[in-house]
Structures are given as C-alpha cells and as structure tokens.
Symmetry: C2
Subunit: 279 residues, 2 copies
C-alpha cells in the first residue's frame, strides 16, 4: 500500500482511526466463544461492523499465539479475510518482532509472504538489522517502536545520551528515519504525554506515527492531533479495548461500531478545528 | 526448572552447550523436506543426536512462523517432544517478545501454558512491564536481551548515559537484576567482544548468561569462559548454524552430533584449565 492510498482513505472517511483487535477468550461474548473459531469470528464481526469508520486494523499477535497453533491459524484467516474484503484498509501486524538479520528475514516472510499484512511493528533494540529485511518488500511498511505509552516506557526510552543530550527514543526516531523514508517506515509514538509528539515531529516531520494511548490523562485527542499532525496528516490513532469491549454481550459488534463512529466523529471535528486555526 | 537442576546437568555432562534449532527449508536435507513435518522431523533428529552433549535446546520462533500455522504446530510438537524425552534439558523459546503488560501476559501464556518451555527470551525496550508476567510462573525463566552480537547491536545498546556514564546495555543488566534474581532471570550477552563480559559480570555477578557469537573474531571460547564464568558456572553457550548445518545431506544428524561433541569437549577442556588456574 502506498502513502497516497493511505491519505485517500483518510480524506474519504475523515478518519485517522485504527481499531486494534486483541481477543481475550474470557472477554468474548458466549455466542462467539461457542464456535469453532472464536478469535476469527469475533474479529470478523468487529471488522464488518467498524470498517466504515477506520483507515486501519491492527492485530496483536500475542492474543492469537496464546491459543496455540489454532490461534495462529485464526490470525491467518482473519488477516486474509480483512485484506480480501477491505483491501483499501491498512492492515498492521502488531508483532513487535526484533531479531538479528537472518531471523528477521524469517519474520518478514511470516507477515508479508505467508500473511497479507501491509505493515509490521518492530522493536529497535537490536538496531538496523531488525528493520532491513522488512524494507525489501515493495509496498510494505515497517513500524518502529519509538516511544511507547506503557508505565515502564521510561526505563530505557528516556535514558539521555552524553554529549548530544538526546533521549534513547529520539535516537530511534532519528535512526529509523535514516533507515527508511516516509514511504516505508512509520513509528509507534505513544500519546502518554502529548507534548512529546512535538519533540518527535522535529525529528521526523514527514513520517507517519501510529499513536496508542489517546484519551489517557495528558493526551486528549485535540492535543495529540495538534502536536502530531503534518502535511500528510501523518497520524494513525489506534484504539483497542475501549472499542472492541464496549459490550461483552451479543450486541458487541453494534456497540463497537457505535464507539468507533464516535471516535471517527471526534477526529473529524478536531481535524476541521485544526485546519481552520491554520487558515 | 531450578538453577540447581541446571548446574547438575552442567556437572554431569561437563558442558555449557545449547544447540539452537533454526530450520530454514532450503537448507534441510531432501529426506527431511519430503515429509509431512519437515521442521519437526529435522529438529527431532538433531535433538536425538546431540542431547548427550547439551544442557539446553533453543528454538527460534521466527523459523517456525515463517511457515505459517503448520510451522507453529511443528514448534509446539517439537517443544513437547523435547520436554517429554529430555525433561532435564533446559528448553528455551528464543522469541524475543516484548509488549505492554496485558499483551505480555498472553505471550507468557503461549510459551509457558500452551507450550512447555522453561524460558523465553524477551526484549527490554518497553521496560519492566515486558518481564513481569513471565516472572509469575513458578520454575520458569525469563532471558532478557542485554547485549546482542549482531552488527548493529551498537545502534542503541552502546548509547552512554549522561551523568552515570552507563551504557544502555548496562542499564538493562542492572534493571533486569532488580526485576528478578538469579533464580528467575538470565540475560543474553553476546560474545562479540569477550572483554565486555567482564563489565557485565561486575553488574550481574550471580545471574546466568546466554552467550551467542562464540568463535567470532575476538570471542574465543577460552576468553568468553574466562571473563564470563561465575561460581555457579553461570553461562550457557549457544551455537546454532555451525552445528545444525554441519552437513546438509542425509548424514546431517550424525555430523551435528560430532560437531556438538567437539564443542562439548572444548568446553570441558577450558573449564578444567580455568579451574586449575584458580587453584
């Protein structure tokens, strides 16, 4: 998928929303649990109900691996289903893989050849070697973990370098932008502190950011968009549990769609507000 | 598995060797490729041929995921086979996972509940949250990526902190040793520069190190053991391709066993040499 196609989706749907599908068996409605393929069926219904409001779907591999090879098989089937039904929607494997060159090649094979994902999230701790194999695939993307939004993100990411005074996460954005341009590389940029997105935009003005953690304290949608948008929009806002678990009863897909629609409308409103401010 | 059981294996076999099983279809002998379960059959034959010389086996998930859910199924079968046949051998999932708390829980479930691994390698970039869920399992281990031995390891791992002058990889060893003691936590410590193991031993005198990259220039087995051993031995030397691909013909298992035996003998010799030096 090209950056142009992503921007077309954004403009057509007036949305930056990505729905993250993280199925935990204990939280699925019983009508879904009591089927042959609960993970697939849950995901399929969420996708069919929300696709109008989203520009991306994100499947986190952890939630499929936890159910063994049958879980992995459902991950494959769900990815194939999404790509077949909604080829214009950007499909992300949230796998956070990161290994040395010859192993990283095999991960690229898994997500880009065995499965039809458009993008994979990767962990930069082992450096450039992790990213290179993914960049060889035409029309595919790598999304590098830059700044995460979890409580212990600071342990390593906020170590400050001697001399340059750069933080480790800033190094990741800088190096990542050297490894691949805005047509191949995106970054995870957690919204825990919206003002940090401003720092990040200085380093990577042109790359897309995948932003989790919106609506946490200190990360209102308006702040996040104000600090993070660029001339290509440049942001994908990813929301998982607060959409997919809006209801745990049989109306889960309807409720998820309502919630996704609310997020899309809030994004549309803020996009307009910010555009008007610029005029 | 307890640290005592690992030490018993070391003393009984006079070995620190771990064989890494990274099956790449193109490199497997045709007799294996032309079976229903090539990855499993290759792994099984390697395991049966080399188990006398090793204290650990390591399966890298990348090499199974690359072949889809059938690959994952063979990973499960191979792990189950090894644990059933050789329960005293330490079984490592080289998965390099690393995600936020609620996703990390699912990875722990995958490797410790769905599969019988004793240990999983994890990536510390997201901090303590990654490690916590794995520590909750009695008798299981987490192996934190500290210093890797790939060419781009330096990109992030050798960033030096303002004030403390610590390198990022040193922080990982220090924090990791706070997160879990030597009965729960090990570290990957690449042998690219054997003298670095000395630095690492100052920070984590008691923890086990999983050491890839031995026999690279600047990382002779003798140097690595001299700098890395502690009172509990404290080292697992992991070798993959130079053992499992000793031959790509039908004699691959016999040749792998010969190579593993050579490594075991070299380890035994060096262990004796170093012990004598101490007397």
């Amino acid at each position: 998928m090209t950056i142009k196609q992503i921007i077309e989706q954004i403009e057509q749907k007036q949305s930056l929303l990505c729905v993250g599908i993280d199925p935990v068996m204990e939280r699925l409605p019983s009508a879904v649990v009591n089927t042959d393929k609960p993970l697939f069926n849950f995901g399929k219904q969420i996708v069919d109900a929300t696709h109008k409001y989203v520009i991306a779907f994100k499947l986190n591999t952890a939630f499929f691996e936890a159910y063994g090879y049958r879980g992995w098989q459902q991950l494959e089937e769900l990815a194939a289903y999404i790509k077949e039904q909604y080829p214009q929607i950007f499909l992300i494997a949230d796998a956070k893989r990161g290994d040395v060159l010859h192993a990283s090649q095999m991960y690229a094979k898994a997500f880009f050849e065995q499965m039809p994902f458009d993008a994979v999230t990767v962990n930069p701790y082992l450096g450039k070697d992790v990213v290179l194999p993914f960049l060889k695939y035409e029309g595919k993307w790598v999304i590098i973990l830059g700044l995460s939004s979890n409580p212990s993100a600071w342990d390593l990411q906020l170590i400050q370098e001697i001399g340059t005074r750069d933080y480790v996460f800033e190094k990741v954005f800088r190096y990542g932008s050297w490894w691949g341009d805005e047509n191949k590389v995106m970054f995870v940029a957690g919204a825990l502190m919206a003002y940090k997105l401003q720092q990040i935009r200085h380093i990577v003005p042109r790359h897309f950011l995948l932003v989790p953690g919106v609506s946490a304290p200190g990360a209102s949608l308006e702040d996040v968009l104000t600090f993070g948008l660029n001339d290509n929009y440049g942001m994908i806002i990813t929301i998982s549990r607060s959409i997919i678990y809006s209801s745990q009863k049989d109306d889960f897909a309807v409720k998820a769609a309502e919630k996704a629609h609310q997020y899309q409308q809030a994004i549309e409103l803020n996009l307009k507000k910010i555009q008007q401010r610029k005029i």
